[in-house]
């Protein structure tokens, strides 16, 4: 057993840190630090900076323009990124679609799509969930009917994160009704500008339109846009989900969140003393920190296994459950920390830089929104209930 990183790993960390110090624009890190919503161009700007460095796709092999990092390097990169308050890399093209195309796509598809993911020409979103098919993904109903060299797609997707900015969507569609629900699903790449595609934003309880409904009304999609074989989409979807689940523990976000909580608790007052000195409050911070210390090592244990070539299985479900619970606990305690200032609804027009007077301390502006928004952590990507079922089946064999 050795809990320390190797010299090589530490050198890598140093390289990443130096890069972030030199290249991460202060305008972006300030936004991330204060929890403000990043707009489309913020994200595009950051992706372009990382791409120039060759670091946008840490998980892709070098042959496809990626960095070819192993799991430990990717972890160190993520940790430095969150530590420096860098915007997160959007996963849809890079962590989800990219690996699927590399594994199952045709040479033409790889040549055409992968460079466009890197250079930002394509902004991808994910068309998996449907109103009746969330965690029970296999019951999806959007259908694609073959007509010559096209599919005609009809149906509805939902919870499409940042779909309002996307020009491409990868979808699971039903191409056959026979057999088990998992059979008869195909994986299609659809241009959002096609006739018959429409997007409707869904406002969430934090007041932000982060997700969307996407409707397909007789949308013509070339058969050439199908990834892999017809009716084998479930295999590719599962492959994608294992990639989606990398960095699932969100240790970096938890560490940054805990730091921010402590900063706030040092500023807020309780009975004339900093809140952080109140033993009742301090004990709650400590409880979370103790959990986080252990979870961070659980995460490293899974990552080390992965770096040694063992694919993580149900372990990623454990990380999802514990990781989401810890982050949600941090969000809830941060909300408690700001006291009455959790109550104002601080929309964009009330934020600094607008004409309106500031209402709440700067550090409090995004706290309530983040608390409500992050209720999603235990719902999306397979709810925590689903993760627990996976654990009890795979690890406990119940």
């Amino acid at each position: 057993m050795n809990l320390e990183y190797t010299d090589e790993q530490l050198a890598f960390r140093q390289e990443v840190r130096a890069f972030l110090e030199a290249e991460l624009p202060e305008s972006l890190s300030a936004k991330v630090k204060s929890g403000k919503t990043l707009n489309k161009s913020d994200i595009e700007q950051w992706h372009a900076i990382l791409n120039k460095q060759g670091w946008l796709a840490g998980n892709w092999p070098k042959a496809y323009g990626g960095a070819g990092w192993n799991a430990v390097q990717r972890h160190l990169f993520e940790e430095e990124m969150t530590g420096a308050s860098a915007p997160r890399i959007l996963p849809f093209g890079l962590a989800m679609l990219g690996p699927v195309l590399q594994e199952f796509g045709s040479a033409e598809q790889q040549e055409y799509y992968l460079p466009k993911v890197l250079n930002g020409e394509h902004w991808w979103c994910q068309g998996y969930s449907e109103p009746g098919a969330g965690s029970d993904l296999a019951s999806l109903k959007t259908r694609a009917e073959r007509e010559g060299d096209h599919y005609i797609v009809n149906g509805q997707k939902t919870w499409t994160t940042l779909g309002q900015h996307a020009n491409m969507i990868f979808c699971l569609v039903r191409t056959a009704k026979e057999g088990k629900p998992q059979e008869g699903i195909s994986f299609l790449l659809i241009d959002m500008n096609s006739e018959g595609v429409s997007v409707r934003p869904i406002v969430l309880i934090d007041g932000e339109p982060e997700v969307n409904e996407v409707f397909f009304d007789n949308v013509k999609v070339p058969v050439a846009n199908r990834v892999g074989e017809e009716n084998k989409g479930w295999t590719y979807a599962k492959y994608l989900l294992t990639h989606e689940r990398t960095n699932i523990a969100g240790v970096g976000f938890a560490v940054a969140g805990l730091e921010s909580l402590k900063r706030i608790a040092r500023t807020e007052q309780s009975k004339g003393r900093p809140l952080i000195e109140n033993p009742y409050f301090a004990a709650q911070i400590a409880r979370i920190e103790i959990d986080l210390m252990a979870m961070s090592t659980t995460n490293l244990r899974v990552i080390s296994k992965a770096a040694a070539g063992q694919a993580p299985g149900a372990e990623s479900s454990m990380l999802k459950v514990k990781g989401s619970e810890i982050r949600q606990a941090i969000n809830a305690l941060t909300r408690s920390a700001i006291g009455s200032y959790a109550m104002p609804f601080v929309s964009e027009e009330l934020e600094p830089g607008s004409n309106a007077l500031p209402v709440v301390p700067d550090y409090a502006a995004s706290v309530t929104g983040a608390y409500f928004n992050n209720r999603k952590l235990s719902i999306y990507g397979g709810s925590n209930e689903i993760q627990r079922s996976i654990i009890s089946k795979a690890l406990l064999e119940l």
Binding site: G134, I205, G207, L275, S340, A342, R375
Partner: protein, 377 residues
């Protein structure tokens, strides 16, 4: 022991429940929550006409109720529909102060509150006070016959709709001393008073209040100078009955919504309510809500009694409601899945209101510490 409602209270509950069902649909509530005023003036007038405001005051003060159980009844019903009416602010807090300390014309304002023609807000909390009632930094100086106030008040609910604020200020004593705090009745158009008004995430509105050399006549003082703490503590105890009962009503509706959802939402070919893991969690929620109901009954039954028992129950109940409220709100969103995250669905507004209860009048941590000081230590 008898936990049944009296006939009078049963009648009030029936008529109030019917009025709310007719006038507080989910659509209306969501539209009001975002409106410039934060509540419906028509509905407010309707509630007053129904006698709902009067039920919060004793006969001596011009009402016909005023006991803890009257308040619990009214606010549980308002909570059930997620109403955003500032009844705690205008009636329980400010009306309670006017009834206890008002003299002459001040006291007559209680009548206006009961008939629904007056709105008020209590400007007491400050950015550094964190729920501690005696922590008042706003200063009052005597200049001849006048009082001059300087300071800042935070998250003053209903301030912009209010005709008057009641403002607390310190004339003597250390910043957290109970002695030396005075209360003043201040028309909102008084010079030197600035309101920076904004919406609240659970509906309704509040304001940051700045007091720059606010000059008030001698008649604006409520009660005796420097002597307001006991009244502040009493009206906060009564307001705690109100918001805890409101939370209970919110929990009841949220539980019903979630139970219904578990019956209709299908995953893996069957209603998700057939999964034992969700059944057990709903059972836990039910148990905790019954605990919450008992805590509210405890507080309502002690709020009109002697101070020590009253305050012990204030902190016990507010702590428990804070914890159970968080559990019920978070679990109900989780069991709804994605739909529970959307603003459009009824649950969102109710869950937000329930969570925000913990940010008023002291949160679960504050009251745990206070309970230790009052009851355990």
């Amino acid at each position: 022991m008898n936990f049944d409602l009296t006939d009078e209270r049963q009648m009030l509950q029936d008529s109030l429940r019917k009025y709310l069902a007719d006038h507080y649909s989910n659509e209306v509530i969501r539209a009001l929550a975002k409106s410039d005023c934060g509540y419906s003036k028509e509905n407010w007038a309707g509630l007053a006409e129904l006698g709902v405001v009067g039920a919060l005051f004793s006969e001596e003060d011009g009402g016909y109720g005023g006991a803890g159980f009257d308040m619990a009844l009214v606010f549980e019903e308002l909570g059930r529909v997620g109403a955003t009416d500032p009844l705690v602010d205008t009636a329980v807090l400010c009306g309670g102060i006017l009834a206890a300390l008002g003299h002459g014309e001040q006291k007559n304002l209680v009548e206006s509150i009961i008939e629904g023609s007056l709105q008020m807000a209590l400007a007491h909390a400050e950015p550094q006070s964190r729920y501690e009632l005696s922590r008042v930094d706003t200063r009052v100086e005597r200049e001849g016959e006048d009082f001059v106030l300087n300071g800042q008040k935070c998250v003053v609910v209903n301030a912009s709709a209010a005709d008057y604020l009641i403002v607390s200020a310190r004339s003597e004593g250390a910043v957290a001393a109970t002695a030396g705090i005075s209360l003043f009745l201040v028309p909102t158009d008084t010079a030197g008073l600035t309101l920076n008004d904004y919406p609240l995430s659970a509906g309704g509105r509040a304001a940051e209040v700045q007091l720059d050399n606010v000059r008030l006549g001698a008649a604006s003082l409520l009660g005796k100078q420097g002597d307001a703490f006991d009244t502040l503590e009493l009206v906060h105890a009564r307001a705690t009955v109100a918001v805890c009962a409101e939370a209970l009503g919110l929990m009841e509706t949220i539980r019903a919504l979630t139970t219904d959802y578990l019956k209709v939402r299908k995953q893996f070919g069957r209603p998700i309510g057939k999964f034992q893991v969700l059944q057990h969690r709903m059972a836990d929620i039910l148990i905790e809500i019954e605990q919450a109901r008992s805590a509210v009954i405890n507080l309502a039954g002690h709020v009109d009694g002697e101070r020590d028992a009253r305050e012990k129950h204030v902190s016990a109940t507010k702590n428990l409601i804070g914890l159970v409220g968080k559990l019920v709100a978070e679990e109900s969103i989780q069991m709804h899945g994605g739909i529970g995250m959307t603003e459009e669905y009824e649950l969102g507004h109710l869950a937000k209101r329930l969570i925000m209860v913990d940010h008023r009048l002291g949160d679960a941590t504050f009251h745990l510490e206070r309970f230790v000081e009052l009851a355990v230590a």
